[in-house]
Structures are given as C-alpha cells and as structure tokens.
Symmetry: C3
Subunit: 114 residues, 3 copies
C-alpha cells in the first residue's frame, strides 16, 4: 500500500494538485495497486476548500468520493479568522500543517509538492 501526502500552500496551484491526485489514483488503479492519499493545505492553499467556493465543489466531492483525506492547517485558519464551519464539512482540521507533514513522513508516507 503506497501512501503519499500532497502539500498545497498556494490557492493558485489547486488545479495542479487536483489533477496530480486524479492522475495518481488512475495510475495506481490501472496497475492494480493501492494508494492512500492525503491533501494537506496551509497558507492560501486552504481557501479552495471554503464552503462558499461553489466552483470547486465538484472536484472536491470527487476527491472525497475517491477516499482522499483533506486536511487543513489550524494555524492558517486562526490567522484568517476562519473556523471549521467555514469549510466543507468533510475536511479534517490539523493542529499545524507542518506538523502533519512531519508526522506522516515519519510514518513512511511520501511527499509531493506540486
């Protein structure tokens, strides 16, 4: 079972990250391999996951349906005066984005920064 965490810290890169994850899932599926994927967003990278971003809803729903975990950095949320309720409710809030990246890699996950 492969495990990899994508790091998104720039809202302008959300499309690249989205396509990267979809390509990875397709690659693994056609090879008969399994992969666990997490998308960790901090800084402006959290913005595409706000509830009022209707234009991203379809893409986010597809990621969630495919089992991708979406994790948002709570330090970023505090700085932006936002809370969990401002984001799609399936998102997980982690204490810090960098802590999540550190812990996952310690557990053997790969890291991709598109």
């Amino acid at each position: 079972m492969y495990k990899v965490i994508f790091h998104l810290d720039d809202e302008g890169r959300v499309g690249v990250v989205y396509r990267g994850i979809m390509n990875l899932l397709h690659d693994m599926e056609t090879e008969g391999e399994e992969v666990e994927v997490e998308l960790l967003a901090n800084s402006s990278g959290v913005k595409p996951f706000m509830k009022d971003k209707e234009e991203n809803k379809e893409a986010i729903d597809l990621l969630l349906e495919k089992g991708v975990k979406i994790a948002l950095c709570n330090n970023t949320l505090r700085v932006l005066y936002l809370t969990k309720k401002d984001f799609v409710h399936e998102a997980t809030i982690v204490k810090s984005g960098v802590g999540e990246l550190t812990r996952k890699q310690h557990e053997g996950w790969g890291y991709i920064k598109p």
Copy 2:
C-alpha cells in the same frame, strides 16, 4: 548508496534543477560516496527535453553521461499532444509523474523540489 529524485514541473526551473544535480554528483564524488539520481519532469517541466530544444542538448547529454535517468510524465505528454518521439530518445516515459514520485519514495528514495 544514496538515491534521490528531483521533481521539475516548471520549465523555467530547469537550470536550477540541472545545477542542483551537477552539484550533488560532484559533492558525492569528492566524498567517495555513490548516488543514483532521477530527474522526473511533468507539466511544463517536460519541455526542455524536446528534441528540437538545441540549447539544452549539451546539458542533457552531460546528465545522461553521468548516469542520471530522465523520466517524463505520460499524462503531460498526452495533454500536450506529444509522444516519446518528440523527446530525446534516452528519456523514459512513465505512466504518471506523481506515480513515479510515489513509488520511488516508497522504495526509500529522497525527494527534492527545487
């Protein structure tokens, strides 16, 4: 034996990646250490490896001569309507760039995103 994969997804960064790899090879060589290096290109990062980019030929030849593997993302090639024959023939085409990055890290390779 060290192993590391460089991730290039922006053609404007090819010089930084090239110099990074050359510096790494030199560092390891002078320390009497061995390293296996792969350059994985996706998105616009594949463009410097097109056959008609004469300005990059010398640098690419040097990388290949030093044993660096150049891997190009096939998803990117399809989106750009390009095929293997449009690129330097020593390049390897991988099913997906993100799949390659995930698999290599799973096998213990380091990751550098210049």
Copy 3:
C-alpha cells in the same frame, strides 16, 4: 523523535519558512513530542542569513535559541563570492545544499518545501 529539514531556496519565502518552523515547534511542544529541525538554504535562500540583514536578526536568534540548525550551501556562497564570515556565525556551511537534503532524507528525516 521527529526529524525534518526545511528547504529554502528563495529569499522571498523566508517568512513562510520561519513561521512554519515556529508553528511546528509549538505543535510538537504542546503535544509533548520532540522534533529536530534543520533549515537548509541555497540559491537566494541564503541571503536572509547575512550578517548585515539586521531586520532578520530577532527571528534568526529565536530559531537558534530553539535549537534549529541553519545550514547554508557552499556552492551558493562561492557563486555569490561570499564566505562563512559574511553570515551569522552560528550558521553551518555544507558542501552542497542538495547533498545535505539527500543525506538527511537517507537518514530518515522528513522534507518540507514551503
């Protein structure tokens, strides 16, 4: 004990890297976990650590006080005609930034590129 190396290769990103490290240290501390952090700077990423950058002194002192190791790429220093004495004296000079990133990951350190 977690171990992670932050890669800074753009002086414009020094604030993001600084805040990332401080957030990580705080996260780990409040969770009762230990972490070893290194900040590896190459390319223009070395500039904020020059002795004459008074505006960065307080932040750098705090990093050092918290036990963060600051490593600077000697290839970059040579290209910029700078030497160790131009930088804060607590900084460590490494033969190559990419070599340091490769060696640390080989030893099990995580990698974060903000």
